[in-house]
Amino acid sequence: MTEALPTTTAPESAIPTRELSLTVNGRPCRVVCQDRQLLVEVLREQLRLKGTHIGCLNGDCGACTVELDGKAIKSCLVLAPAAEGSEIITLEGVGPDGGGLDPLQQAFWDNDGFQCGFCVPGQIFAARQLLARTLEPSDAEIREAVAGNICRCTGYQTIIESVRAAAQAIGEGTEGLVPEVDTPA
């Protein structure tokens, strides 16, 4: 028998609630949330951005990764109120305006980087952070960069190859640069 989890008996109306101002994928928005909600929950439930996944809720798997003020972070480790005033990019905001894939996403597509796709957010945002720093990463650097993400299809090798191909394509200038992390004003 397991012990009961601590749970409030207070009515829903008594749960502390607030309005948050965020900029998500370049668009300013206001959203009402409970103080106890995680950022990943607000992105998925209130904002309906389902590209950000819920995996372990423990900071291990990386499926909930987004960019918060330009840094790749795991959004299950952030209480939504802590994101007040932040600029967030979710997986939906990575590709170019008007649809299509950015060079990094294209490299994953071309190299079968993903099987089920559940770990996409973590792999993409971790790789973006790496490629913003260097376009000539060693395999060791690529492995280090994606180490915070768990791929349960165990497709790690094609993930490494995809990042390597993206670096090369972007470096050769044939695919343009990875979009700037900062969102347009």
Binding site: R36, A72, L79, A126
Partner: protein
């Protein structure tokens, strides 16, 4: 989701933060990077009514004098790593930050002071801070006070903060010691099984005055003075197996958790210590 009626506070000054923590005691906690506290709330392991967020307190400063570096409570591992090379002994902190488990996302979120406040025996920062003789700057309802790291860590998951106090910064010395860090873990995603931080102060390159601080092998970090192992020239006077035996004897109550039993930690401690020492000696 978190099932309790949590209230999030982001106070704008330290007095307000300390007052909130003092008023709510065990029902409140500080949230910094969130990497430990938030999932523990999600899992229902912590039952809180209030969290006090550091984000508006301006504690994200990393600053230095000619003798020390001060690392504010909101400074992440990524901030430490992207800073210019730390001088002297303080370099140990940068080396250890580069090996923090969990990938770049966790290094973007986790903080030095958060790790210190959590005081998990199986983590990098407590051992590193004790090795450096770091100063821990606390702020509470009665104002600020500073404690040496060796007095800050009082037991596993327990620090010397009083009710209402929070850790606002740590200071680490930049004196020109040679340092070496070695961490032993069994998987990329694992907490360390044993860590060793070697600090060699002798400018002539001997081990005179050398200490090695073991982390993750006992409830609190163990700072070992190597003098009993040295000859008159400050060189190691005993073979490796004897070093290992001596080290094991310094760990009477090894830390035991799901990652590794205590006797295993005690057994590997000597090897880990020797490797840290070797790194420090190569670090000229």
């Amino acid at each position: 989701m978190i099932r309790t009626a949590l209230r999030h506070h982001a106070p704008g000054d330290l007095e307000e933060a300390a007052a909130l923590l003092a008023a709510h005691g065990e029902r409140a906690a500080v949230v910094g990077g969130g990497t430990v506290l938030v999932p523990s709330l999600t899992r229902g392991e912590r039952d809180l009514d209030h969290v006090v967020d550091l984000r508006r307190l301006g504690l994200d400063e990393l600053s230095g004098t000619d003798q020390e570096l001060r690392i504010g409570a909101s400074v992440s591992y990524a901030d430490v790593l992207s800073a210019p090379p730390f001088p002297g002994a303080a370099q140990l902190l940068q080396v250890a930050a580069g090996g923090i488990t969990g990938g770049p996302q966790i290094r973007n979120q986790g903080t030095v002071c958060g790790s210190a406040s959590y005081a998990n025996p199986s983590s990098d920062m407590p051992g590193v801070l004790v090795a450096l003789g770091a100063q821990m700057h606390l702020h509470g309802p009665e104002g600020g006070r500073t404690l040496p790291a060796g007095e800050f860590f009082v037991d596993a998951f327990r620090v010397a903060a009083r009710r209402g106090e929070l850790l606002v910064a740590v200071s680490v010395p930049t004196r020109p010691d040679r340092i070496g860090y070695y961490k032993f873990k069994l998987a990329e995603g694992s907490w360390p099984i044993a860590t060793a931080s070697a600090v060699l102060p002798d400018p002539d390159g001997s081990l005179t005055g050398a200490t090695v601080t073991l982390g993750a092998v006992s409830a609190v970090p163990l700072r070992l003075d190597l003098a009993p192992l040295l000859d008159g020239n400050g060189d190691l006077a005993v073979p490796a197996a004897e070093v290992d035996g001596w080290v094991a004897a310094q760990v009477p109550e090894p830390w035991d958790d799901e990652l590794a039993p205590g006797d295993y930690r005690r057994t590997v401690a000597g090897v880990v210590l020797r490797r840290a020492l070797q790194r420090a000696e190569e670090n000229r």
